[in-house]
Symmetry: C4
Subunit: 326 residues, 4 copies
């Protein structure tokens, strides 16, 4: 496992990291989570990604219990959370949902710290942009979390390049803590934002990337090539919105070809997809998701494939996927 | 009930809100206050307005007890207080009354938090301008309340446009928290400040408005058309200063005509007056005052009238009231 | 008693105030101090001046005990302390004496708060200039006391106009709390600094003055006209350095003439001298010192003389004293 | 003992000070450390240098226990620590070692405070430059330690002039606490950085110097002239990397000549070397290291030699050492 600076920061994150989206509490209990965190940590993973909204707070509770059981020194791991959607799905959700206003953010960080049983969270993200809150209000609140010692660094997730730059400039003008990293979707079929939209930000403001969905929600494992298998993420009721996309014929055909390339290199298609995201030097860490220990261990096999992605191999991969990517 | 951004901020307040001026402690005890807060909340009201000076602190005590009884999640409601007049009416009141100096403000916020039994107050206002304190001193103190986590946003009440802009510019220069909202009197007979004096501030600094006295202290209910009824606000000893104004013949005659328009639209004149204030897109929320539950529920009926205020109806209302307004 | 803004600030101080220099602990115990504080407070005095060095901390202890006994609401009085000389007179006094460095200042404020049993001190002063500490270091430390809530306003004592302006400019540049007031010696025989050196600062930065020694250490009471009376301040061993000055023949002769003017106006020379300092509109408050209640009450009689200081009277006073003043 | 301002700051440090590098915990236990601290303090030393990495935290523990036993008033001594290498030597040391990132620094200061049993540490240093962390991130974290009251002043150790200036400019731009002092190696055979590279910084930013290794790890005591004596620092396993340098023939020959000069002046070569460093007015304090009380007392004898370093003597010393120095 290699470690990379998170953007221009001095914080180093493992090239592969472990997220809890979808899986925790829903598919993974504290015992299983602890087992997987331990395995990842032993393999060199030092960054564990979370969010307030994952399982509506329960994902933070599970991860917090696992940290407590594992007793790692606090300097040895980096943990994140993200704010935007809130925890409430019913009743009057004004100021509790889909917002980055000061009221919500200042209460949200306290809730996350309590659920995770931590004194501070390393990375806090604005989980989505909020067009109804001025960027200055959000920047001030995120920076205040750092000043108050509740967080160390802050960033965004799925923000436009223009909004990220605006946030950075506002922080610079008012001498606040600047946004450091962005968490975008990034995989073989979703590349434009990372490769084009953000291009100037890497140099200009030192933006780091913690990318999610390297396997395109499982499409890049090949398991959706013949429909939705029972027990898969695509079979979850809450994930029904992505079923059509998972069964896209052209993409699944491309996956079949990628499987061959992976086999040539001595791996499988999931490992190839992860290695492909990991080979981008702008990516600080590729966040893996896993509902089973075996799956995590298989995914970590991507490390062996990364150095095999020669320019020639990358060209073959691009020919198959770029025309189908956005 | 609709929710509007408080000025340019990301905080959303209900278009109608509930204040405790005059009524709490004087006419309304904790039980009645709790009942009215609950009814307002159930109707969608999320902003509850208060001030240190209302019933000399007792209004904050009553509202705090009501919040405690109601057990709403803290994210679900927005509460305010205001500082200027202090709590003392006798003895040497230097630095305790009619001031916005640092000494008074830093002690006032602590007193309000204690009386309300809250960890923070969402909105804190400078209740009036203080020509004897530099705006910079006041801006620094109000901003410090936010930095210390005791408040979330700050604003002014009945300040001139020039002073509001000065406060905003000073905060911007020194990287402090900027004033966000103003609480002006605004009703059919009091319109100049909101409609003309503040005109540039809405765009330039994103000023929000939480308006008070939509019924002109009851004049716009029509109940003062034949004198001061016993038990009305105008009959309170402390309100004697406004009795003459409440019985102004020309205005009461206009009210009689407004009653007819209200009846045409299927409401009463109070509902019409509230709906009229509410229809102004510069107004973030119209603060209602009520001493009885029935009155509150009647006033909330204004929501049904708001969409009926067509340009034609508004023209008729203007013709009746604009010449009598300041 | 009238109240004046402390410089351009919104804080109001009584035109006459009470200091504890020399007297507390040395000549005045807690019981007597409490009695005099109560009498001054009843007469309208709201500012009580102190310093760490007065009786090496004991003056703060005595005043703190008096406050505790008197139970005044905290908003009703303004209290000060000052830092520079430290509390230690023997051993290695590096960084503990004659300094305004950060190390000393940050520890000094904590000591004063503890001795006075207060949560915050209204006014904190740099008791003298320190040419061996950069003004920026001192400004940052004084401002930090305010940010931390341990003090409300800060100022200087016996600083040059150039240093005061430098401190103000540094605070403005770095967005820190600015110095507000200066405590200079000011009496009929010591006028240049207040009347000439600081002239531009009143308008340019809104400097306020809390002046000390209105009676020129007793010279202006007339009691040193025939030598040093036993029991007087001049008889204290620690005050021996000023004995010669107290017996200056020309000045004592002028005092004899002033006594006649005072008698014409219905007062005594001490009252005249205090009234003279008080009549300067640049002076926010004249700090009185008293070792006995009767003396304090006599001095407060100056209030009656102030309005009698007509231009004609002031001219006569100037003719007598200006040639002998520095 | 004389006291000098630490650079342009108002903090005064003794010209000779005592460090705990190498010796504490390894060669010196708490009893011996307490004895040496007491002797140094009695001789006028007021600065005691430490670092997190010295004996991996144990040096801080030992010094903290000694302080506790000695019960000096906190204003009477200045204590330092330094951060960079971390405490861990095995396992995954990402973010725990060789870093000045925010995550490490914010945890490191808390650890040092706990080990030293202190409320604040006077001087905190970045123990080495970290090319993998932006200077802005480090400046913000170091300044935050001061804002939080955990430290009073911050500086660097073995940083380039360019990096020190960059840190100062960033702090000035963002109104943060500026770096004040640098801790460079400085002795007769290591002079370029102090005498040439930093030359402009003394005037431009008021940089102070706390220099280490005045005896070139013992070379300048003459004791390595005939090999590595048992029990010497050079005989420690952890110091094996410097053995070759300690036995450099040309330098040891120069030491033999220096011994003669020292003898002429009535001292020994170690005292001469310390006096030579001390005579540089850019040096705020020369940090001595000692594993035995007798050695410390001998080194303090350098004070008597300093005034004897006339221009003529300095020329003779330069002629012997400058050609061999870097």
């Amino acid at each position: 496992m290699q470690y990379r600076r998170l953007g221009r920061s001095g914080l180093k994150v493992s090239e592969l990291s472990l997220g809890s989206w979808v899986t925790y509490h829903n598919q993974v209990d504290t015992t299983a989570a602890t087992e997987m965190l331990a395995a990842a940590f032993d393999a060199g993973v030092n960054f564990f990604d979370n969010a307030e909204v994952y399982a509506l707070g329960e994902s933070e509770v599970v991860m917090g219990q696992a940290f407590k059981a594992l007793k790692w020194p606090r300097l040895n791991y980096v943990v994140s959370t993200k704010f935007f959607w809130g925890l409430e799905r019913d009743g009057n959700t004004t100021n509790r949902k889909d917002t980055l206003n000061r009221k919500y953010l200042m209460q949200a960080i306290d809730g996350s710290l309590q659920r995770m049983q931590l004194d501070f969270i390393d990375l806090v993200y604005c989980h989505r942009p909020d067009p109804h809150t001025p960027i200055e209000e959000t920047v001030h609140a995120m920076s205040d979390m750092i000043t108050q010692g509740k967080a160390l660094y802050w960033g965004t997730s799925e923000w436009s390049a223009a909004d990220i730059r605006a946030a950075w400039e506002i922080a610079d003008k008012h001498h606040l803590h600047k946004p450091l990293m962005e968490q975008p979707q990034y995989h073989l079929f979703h590349r434009t934002r990372v490769e084009q939209e953000y291009a100037r930000l890497y140099e200009d403001i030192g933006l780091g990337l913690t990318t999610w969905s390297p396997l395109a929600s499982g499409l890049l494992t090949g398991k959706y090539r013949s429909g939705i298998p029972a027990g898969s993420r695509g079979a979850l009721e809450s994930m029904s919105w992505m079923r059509e996309q998972l069964q896209d014929p052209a993409r699944n055909a491309a996956v079949a070809e990628l499987e061959k390339i992976a086999a040539e290199l001595g791996g499988n298609v999931a490992q190839l997809a992860i290695a492909w995201a990991n080979r981008n030097p702008r990516v600080s860490t590729v966040i893996l998701g896993a509902s089973k220990l075996a799956q995590l261990q298989d995914n970590l096999g991507a490390l062996a494939l990364t150095p095999k992605l020669t320019p020639e191999v990358l060209e073959r991969i691009d020919a198959l996927t770029k025309p189908l990517a956005k």
